[in-house]
Amino acid sequence: MSVELILTVVVLTNLRLLGASRLGACIRTVGLQGLLLGLLPLATGGRLTTLHVVVLAVGSMVLKGFVFPRLLFWALREAHVTREVEPFIGYTGSLLIGGFMLGGAVWLGDRLVIGGTTDLSWVVAVAMFSILTGLFLIVARKRAIHQVLGFLVMENGIYIFGIGAIPGIPLLVELGLLLDIFVAVFVMGIAVYHINREFDHMETDKLDVLRG
């Protein structure tokens, strides 16, 4: 599978995330994105499929494709919610903004063109687009789950950049990264659980007691 194709599918999943209202669908989309990303090192590293790359690919596929979605579904069940409540920015509007963000990301990718390798500009663009999509989801949605999803999409964007633009990040660093993300999502999941128990909802815009 070519890198370009995988990246294009990632873009499409991002757009779907922007337009979807059902939380379950969102979680599944993010899971799909995770699986795709697991394929990415295999695709780029076609010439040197080392143990390092395989471990990384399998690890991230398992974690992002299966563990995280299950964790989030569990939280969702606990909270008895399925849909996003009135988001700050509507779904159509989100898609529109998504279009703009994609344009901006492509522009940025062109700016950072690396030593002649033109295909990398698309990598940078998709990475940036994912980061921006993730940020947008965190900012524009109300449910805590959605924010965890946004964070994951952001991390995916960074991962795309790391895999695509830099040939050899040391394994130790990569594993540390994976572990950190895992713990982060785990802690966030626990936090969502606690919040849900204490507040009987998980609309984070209502968490505004602390101000000033």
Partner: protein, 505 residues
């Protein structure tokens, strides 16, 4: 003992202490184990720091771990703060255990995470690989997050949620920045294994791709800046500081912020030596520093909650350190000096504020008024530490702030100097206005006695005394250590340690 062994021990001791503490049944024993662990760590840290300052950087693990003067200085400051906070935690939680407000497993969790966070922060200072350094920061975030809601309340959960999400986003940016810098280093033809080694980056800075380094530094600054509480990314900070139990607030403010700023410091010499980027990072640092000072000023002026007030002071002081860093020269020296001053003072401020809050059941300043009449240790200590924080002479913060002002004047940056003074002036006016009724106001009917043990009095007044001494007299060895640490930032020995003190001669 070999220095590489000490470095490994620095990482092992906290983890071991964490494991031991979690396994205990008794809450008190867990807390004591944490204290002992931190104590051992402090001794180790002092020993290695002494060696580093006298004979240069120490390395271990095939250069993956490296402790130079900058790291050692920060490590020692952190360990001192950590040790003080551990002593304080023992008394603080001891009272809560007595009152039945803290159950054993929460206390064990606290002790474990406390030591774990220490290990993570130590990792930040000893790693030579910038990726591992990042891992350390992220680990710190995750380990400290549950500490905020040791007492599970709605407010603490809200604070924890904001903390974890904002900081995770920020730290993710920092990782993106790290990767961008690494991407910029692709062409420098070093082994990919060593691509993120700080020493390698410094050595090969001249061949880095400026475009990537620029973008990377922006990501890094925003990312680590979020963790360091620089405005406008500081919003999690007042919530987390105010809701966390006081020992946690103390290390948050006293050192976790500095650890993130330390990461930025690591990149400054790299960025500065990239061709064409001389002075580029300074402008960013100065900008964020000034914005932080001014934003903090806005919120300090109309604050009602004592711990939030102190939290905004942290924003201000992080801004001051960043500003000093951006100004360079004497400013770098002053920024590092200020790190110590702020950490010591803020820790004491939180200790006293926390004790008063614990006794009165609120951190609302109008209900804590007249604290000096309740207890000279807690009330007086709080008043003194606020005065020191807002830059009263002859304490050390006044000196470091004056040095930063001098650095601004040396750079002909008079607008910066003016904004700096305006910000500090507003903070002074506001904080003094809060501090005076807090110390001397009418205590109302809440006349309770707040006895303090000798050890408690010591952890309140010894740091303040140290600040007084440092404001009037800087021992030669300390000055040497600071200068050596500052030289690391000013591109490894490019500037002679004493050149900036020619003034004194």
């Amino acid at each position: 003992m070999n220095s590489y062994l000490v470095i490994w021990l620095l990482l092992i001791v906290p983890v071991a202490a964490a494991c031991l503490a979690v396994l205990q049944k008794s809450a008190r024993v867990a807390l004591r184990i944490a204290l002992v662990g931190v104590g051992i760590e402090l001794c180790l840290g002092l020993a290695i720091a002494k060696r580093v300052f006298s004979s240069g950087a120490a390395t271990a693990g095939a250069e993956w771990l490296r402790l130079d003067a900058l790291g050692a200085y920060n490590l020692v400051v952190m360990l001192v703060v950590y040790f003080l906070s551990s002593v304080y935690a023992l008394f603080y939680f001891g009272r809560e255990i007595d009152a039945g407000k803290l159950v054993a497993n929460r206390a064990r969790m606290f002790a474990g995470l406390w030591c774990g966070a220490l290990g993570a922060m130590t990792l930040v200072f000893v790693s030579n690989n910038l990726g591992i350094m990042w891992v350390g920061i992220e680990a710190t975030t995750l380990l400290t997050a549950p500490l905020i809601s040791v007492h599970v309340t709605r407010e603490s959960l809200e604070a924890m949620w904001k903390y974890i999400l904002i900081c995770s986003v920020g730290v993710a940016f920092a990782f993106m920045g790290t990767l961008l810098v690494a991407a910029g280093a692709r062409s420098m033809g070093i082994e990919s294994e060593h691509i993120l080694f700080w020493t390698e980056l410094c050595r090969n800075a001249s061949v880095l791709d400026p475009a990537f380094v620029k973008a990377g530094f922006v990501f890094l600054l925003v990312g680590y800046g979020t963790k360091a509480g620089l405005a406008p990314m500081h919003n999690w900070l007042p919530d987390a500081h105010s809701q966390a139990p006081t020992p946690v607030s103390a290390i948050f403010s006293g050192f976790m912020l500095n650890a993130a700023l330390y990461c930025v410091m690591r990149y400054v010499p790299v960025v500065e030596s990239v061709p064409g980027l001389k002075g580029w990072s300074s402008s960013l640092l100065i900008l964020l520093g000034i914005v932080s000072i001014l934003v903090a000023a806005v919120f300090i002026l109309s604050q009602h909650d004592l711990k939030r007030l102190l939290a905004y002071h942290s924003v201000e002081h992080m801004g001051i350190i960043t500003l000093g860093l951006g100004l360079g020269g004497l400013g770098t020296f002053a920024a590092l000096f200020h790190t110590l001053n702020h950490s010591l003072c803020k820790t004491v401020a939180f200790f006293t504020a926390g004790r008063l809050g614990q006794a009165c059941g609120t951190h609302n300043m109008s209900r804590l008024s007249g604290s000096m009449r309740l207890s000279i240790v807690w009330g007086g200590g709080l008043f003194c530490s606020i005065l020191v924080l807002i830059g009263i002479a002859p304490f050390a913060i006044f000196m470091s702030e004056f040095q930063i002002l001098k650095a601004a004047a040396d750079n002909q940056a008079m607008v910066v100097a003016a904004l700096f003074l305006v910000g500090c002036g507003i903070v002074f006016v506001g904080a003094l206005g809060h501090a005076m009724p807090l110390a001397w106001g009418d205590p109302g009917d809440a006349r309770l006695a707040l006895p303090a043990r000798r050890a408690e009095a010591a952890i309140v007044f010894l740091p303040l005394a140290a600040l007084l001494v440092l404001g009037l007299w800087m021992p030669a060895s300390f000055k040497h250590a600071l200068a050596a640490a500052a030289d690391v930032i000013k591109q490894a020995g490019a500037v002679q340690a004493d050149s900036m003190f020619s003034i004194a001669r």
